[in-house]
Symmetry: C2
C-alpha cells in the first residue's frame, strides 16, 4: 500500500479555529477550466471620479456631501444592514423552529484614501498607519456604545467580491450579538485556553515559525502565512507575535509593523497575477462586551478567490455548500508561490 | 419604543439544522446596485454540441467515448477530487495544529439528458423520474462500497455557480468521512431526536404547513418551502411528508411526486427572472455507514445566488465570511414571490 503523501494524495485537514474540515485534492490542480472567466477591470482609473459617491467633495445617495478629506474618512453607511433604533421584543425561549431576535447595530464605511485609484499596496506605509489608527478609533468609539458587543472590521475588494465601487474602502459593522463565525472562533479559542492556559494562535504561530513551510512574510511583530487549514487558494492570516486581543493594544512599533506587512502581503497578491487582486479581508479580535477575554488573539484573515489567473477563480459551490470546502493547490504550494513574489508592486516598475 | 416587526426591523434568525444564525435586513432591499453584473448565457444552445464532452458519442478528456445514451448517463469524473486508492497512514491523535488524514472516495458525473440544451424544468416528469432512479442506484452502489460512508448528490447549475458546461448534469462525491456540513446537520438532528423521539424536519414541516407563509409548492408527498432561516435570497428546501432517511426509501408514488415537485420548483425559478436560474442543489440524507440513523430525514437544498434580476446576485463576502450570512429580502417575501410564479415554463409559452 502506498504511504500517505500530503503533497499528492487527497486528504482532509482540520481547522482548530472553527472546528471544521477542508478537503484537499492536490492532484486536481491540473484540471482544465472551460467555465466562467471573471472580467478584469481596467487599471486606468482617474484619481478623482465625479460620479463616485466616495470621492472627496461628492454628494452621496442620501444627499450628504463628503468633505475634502485628505486621510482616511469614515461615515455612516447610507444603506446599513443594521439600525441603531432600540426595538421592544419579548423572547420566546421555548421556540425551536422560529427563533428570531431583533439586532441593533451601526454600519460605517471607511474610505482608505481620497484618491479614487489608490489601493492598499500602492499606498505609503504612513497612509496605511493612518487607516490602522482609524480602525483603532472606530473599535474604541463603537465598542463603548452600551449595546455594541462586537465590532467587525472588513474589506471587500474587487467586483468579484461584491464590491460596487473601486474607490479604496472598507466597512465596519458593529452590533449587539457575536456573529456566528466569531462565536465559533471564540468557543474554540476558549476551550484551548481553558485546557492549556495559553493562546491557540500563539502556540500555532510558534510551530509555523519552526516549520517555515507556510510563511509568506514576517517582521519583528507580525507574520503573514497560509494556514495549514486554508480553504481559499491563496488564503492568508496575519498573526501578531505578541499575545494581545485587540487592535487598540498595538504599540506604536506594532502599528508600523502591521502597516508594513499589510503593504507587503497585498503587494505580493497584486504581483501574483499582475492584477489588482480581489479579496475579502477582516479582523477577528476581542468582543467589546466588557469581559477580559484572555483567550482572544488579534488576527486578520484574507480570503481571495482567484485560483489560476486574473480571470479564473475558485467556486465554493455544490459540494462545498452541501459537504465541505474543497481546494486543489496545497497551502504549502500557495505559500511558496506568494513568498516568491516581489515586495515591489508591479505597477511601480512600469 | 417601537415593537419588533419581523417584516421591517433588522434581526437574526436561528437555523436549528446547523446551529447557526443569519442576519436579516428587510429594510435594505431597496439598496441601489452599481456593482458586478453577471452575464446571461444565451438560451440558443444546440440539442447536440460536437465540442461538449458530455454529449452522447463525444470523446472526453481522458480519451473515452460517451455511449449514445438516451436516458440519464453516469461516468467516473475524469478530474475527480477524490481517489479510490487505499493509502497507508498513521494517525497522530495528539496533533492539534497539523491534523490531516487521507480521504478515499469516488466522484461521478450524472448527465441528466442526452440533449445538450435541456434543463430539469424543461424535461417531462418521466425523464426526471429516470434521474431519481439513477440517484437511487448510485446511492446503493456507492453506499455499499466498504469504505464509503457518505454519498453526496449535488448539482451546480449555471456558470455563476462554477459550472463549466451547460449540458444538464449533476455530480456525486462519495467518500469515507462525513463532510463538515453533513456532520453538523447530523449532530443537530440527533440531539433533537434524542430529546423528542421525533424528527426535527418532520416537526418543522408540520408547523410550516399550519402557518402556510413560506410554502412554495406542495403535493401529496413533498413540500418545497423557503426555510425560516434561509440565507440565499430564493433558497428553498424540499422535505418529504413521510419520515424516511434516504432516497432509496421512496415508494413509486413518491418518486413521481418528487419528480413533479422538482419540475415545479425549477420552473418557478426559471420564470422568476425569465432566465435559466442558476443554483447549487444537493440532497442530504442518511450516511451509508451501516447504522440505522432514525434521526435522519431525506431533504434537498437549493441555494440560488440571484437577488434582483437575471444579472444581479447576492454576494456572500466580507461580513458574511467573517461574521455571518446576511440577507435583505425576507424568506416570507421570497416564498410569496416564488409561489406566485406559474408552473408553466416561460419558454414553452413562446
Ligand atoms: O467539478 P466541476 O463542475 O468541474 O467544478 C465545480 O464544482 C466543484 C464541486 O462543487 C467545485 O469544487 C468547483 O470549484 C466547481 O467549479
Ligand atoms: O455593503 P456593500 O459593499 O454595498 O455590499 C457588499 O458587502 C456586504 C457585506 O459583506 C454584502 O452583504 C453585500 O452582499 C456585498 O455586495
Amino acid at each position: 500500500m502506498k504511504n500517505f503523501d500530503i503533497n499528492e494524495d487527497p486528504h482532509r485537514r482540520y481547522n482548530p479555529l472553527i472546528n471544521e474540515w477542508v478537503l484537499v485534492s492536490p492532484h486536481r490542480s491540473k484540471r482544465p477550466w472551460q467555465g466562467q472567466n471573471e472580467t478584469v477591470t481596467s487599471d486606468a482609473l482617474p484619481e478623482y471620479d465625479p460620479t463616485c459617491y466616495l470621492c472627496p467633495g461628492n454628494v452621496r445617495a442620501n444627499g450628504e456631501v463628503n468633505p475634502a478629506y485628505e486621510n482616511a474618512f469614515v461615515f455612516e453607511n447610507d444603506f446599513a444592514a443594521l439600525k441603531q433604533e432600540e426595538i421592544a421584543f419579548e423572547e420566546n425561549k421555548n421556540e425551536t423552529f422560529f427563533k428570531a431576535q431583533p439586532e441593533r447595530g451601526i454600519s460605517r464605511v471607511v474610505c482608505f484614501s481620497p484618491k479614487h485609484n489608490l489601493t492598499l499596496p500602492e499606498m505609503p506605509v504612513v497612509a496605511i498607519e493612518n487607516i490602522i489608527q482609524t480602525w483603532q478609533k472606530e473599535y474604541t468609539d463603537l465598542g463603548t456604545v452600551d449595546y455594541i458587543n462586537h465590532v467587525q472590521i472588513f474589506e471587500n475588494k474587487g467586483s468579484v467580491m461584491g464590491c460596487s465601487n473601486p474607490h479604496p474602502h472598507g466597512q465596519i459593522w458593529a452590533q449587539s450579538s457575536l456573529p456566528t463565525e466569531v462565536e465559533k472562533t471564540q468557543n474554540n479559542l476558549k476551550a484551548y485556553y481553558d485546557k492549556h492556559q495559553s493562546n491557540l494562535l500563539q502556540d500555532y504561530l510558534k510551530e509555523e515559525l519552526k516549520l517555515n513551510e507556510r510563511i509568506v512574510s514576517e517582521n519583528d511583530h507580525f507574520v503573514a502565512l497560509v494556514p495549514f487549514w486554508a480553504i481559499w487558494p491563496y488564503e492568508t492570516i496575519i498573526i501578531s507575535k505578541r499575545h494581545f486581543g485587540k487592535i487598540t493594544d498595538f504599540t506604536e512599533a506594532e502599528t508600523t509593523a502591521f502597516a508594513t506587512i499589510l503593504k507587503q502581503l497585498t503587494t505580493k497578491y497584486d504581483n501574483l497575477f499582475e492584477t489588482s487582486f480581489p479579496y475579502s479581508s477582516g479582523i477577528h479580535q476581542s468582543p467589546t462586551d466588557g469581559e477580559s477575554h484572555p483567550e482572544w488573539q488579534f488576527h486578520m484573515h484574507f480570503y481571495p478567490p482567484l485560483l489560476r489567473s486574473a480571470t479564473v477563480k475558485k467556486f465554493m459551490v455544490g459540494y462545498e455548500m452541501m459537504g465541505e470546502s474543497q481546494r486543489d493547490i496545497t497551502p504549502e504550494k500557495s505559500a511558496t508561490v506568494l513568498k516568491e513574489q516581489s515586495d515591489v508592486h508591479y505597477k511601480s516598475k512600469i
